[in-house]
Amino acid sequence: MRAKTLLAAATAAMLLIGGCGGPQGQEGSPNGPTQGEKGRITICLLPKQKGIPYFTSCAEGAQEAAKELDVELIYDGPTDGSPEKAAAMVEKWALQGVDAICVSPNDPNVLAPAMKAARQKGVKVITWDADAPSDAREVFVNQATAEQIGTALVDTLVKDMGGKDVKGEVAIITATATAANQNEWIVHIKERLKAYPNLRLGSVVPSNEDQKLAFQAAQDLIKASPDLKGILAISSTAFPGAAEGIKQAGKAGQVQVTGLSTPNDMRAYVKDGTVKSVILWNTKDLGYLTVQVAAQLVRGTFKGTDPTVKAGRLGEKRVEGDNVLLGDILVFTKDNIDQFQF
């Protein structure tokens, strides 16, 4: 019996060795970074969650920049959006000795210690998409702060509802109850809502990143409160779910919904009028700029304190303090959405 087990284990081991040896020679296989290679720098790009279109389109822009600058780009992140797994990846990359790590922290508190540790190992660490405490990174590639996002969400919704005189209730459909990012936005949304005394915040409903739950929540909210005039669906799964819910409830035009999403995912709803505005920035450009900044930091052609940075096809970008600014928040409407393909 013992012999049998050992045999089995040995067989498994052979397969494993064979299997691992194989891909080295194969063409096009993804290659891990190796410290030995000189000259070519390695940049890691960490999204909050891998596998969702927003970050996938960022990654496309990042890849474009990587090709232009001839850097090795590793794009990986937790498929479930867990900040703990993200922190583990940062730790791993730091041990691999990569040159730069670009982090979009799903929870800055969780990621900051790992980022600081990576910096101590000599890795250039920057944040993009969302920020972390300033001592955890060199610069922040800033498309918009949480405050700007919260304000833009409320203002756009109010505009879509017909102006600041509209009375009624507003509800929020968020990602999960514990999503750090969304919770920060909610703080600013509440702050901004004070500017509109006619509006009242109803429920905050978690959708657990489940489109179906967001759909159901939108329908329940509409029925439960005849006063409901608007919904802020502030995660990329909640937004289309809520839009579909409003559409199927026959309330398109009466209840407005807005949120952050890529134009591609919301195009149909904007075209059929269920959604008037979608808020976002140019995600491809964001990814592109991030890799540009990271590579130049590594090569020393950009120091965090410079007033501007040359970013390839984007031209010169302004630097404010330690924030590299991408530009304004975009609002996609029926009129302009077809100009954006991402």
Binding site: A13, C20, T34, K50, T79, N109, V110, P113, A177
Partner: protein
Amino acid sequence: MRRLIATHEAGLAALLAALLVAAWRTDPAFVSWRVQSGLLPQIGETALLAVPMTLIVITGGIDLSVGSVMALASVLFGLGFRSGWPVEACAAAALAAGLLCGALNGWFVTRFRVHPLIVTLGTMSAFRGLAEGVSAARPVSGFPDTFLRIGQGWTAVGLFAALTLAGTAVLARHVLGRRIYGIGLGESAARASGWNVDRLKASLYAFSGLMAGVAGVLFTARRNTAKADVGAGIELEVVTAVVLGGTSIFGGRGTLVGTALGLAVLHEVRQFVGWRWSNDVLNLVVVGALLIGAVTLNGVISRRPAGSVEGG
């Protein structure tokens, strides 16, 4: 029986060795002390929870609520800290909460004689929901450095090592260990021998809760955050490691050394896949396949002849 355990452990050790050799051939840096010691803390909380889980599974039970207890402990720690309690008091409250949660599991399991799978499925939701409710899902952060330092090093792994050593001794030589195996193999015989089966079982669940409380505090220190989604999904990881380590899900069989090896294999496979391919998706597939594969292989090898009912 003992030979069977030994062979499973030998198989795992061989698998681990093979894995490390394969990794070394591909990228020697991965097997270096610097990298390995840097990656080790990541398995800390899982390892800590695997000790009581092994004991519980040996008695024929399971505890699915560990991740949720971690979250509740973490949230209570955070709430205490926000109200200005000293860190020691927060930690004591978190551990007490963990112990209480575990005791509640034990009470349900022994008092109502309901399958632990169902009880802890219920408390898994209930404890996590409680954590979400009392914290309104808001995280607490900004703990003092002295506290954070506890989490950065090897505290959890060290505690696991100590518990494994002590636990192995207890399982091998102590009356409690003998009873834990005995309950898993024949609860009736255990009761007929005058053992207080219910008290021992309830204590194990309480121990599990306490360790989950410790893991919750350590996690809070390691990641500088106290919030309600701490430890989500960790129960599956812990059970995977325990089962991979050769503990029978039906009870009566298993060792902590096996669990340690199971943890090591799980950890190394995952880290190596991440190191080599930087692909979180691949990890899901590899770990799932590893679990099914190992248990199937073990089942096929240790297949016993059919029971007493012949023919049929």
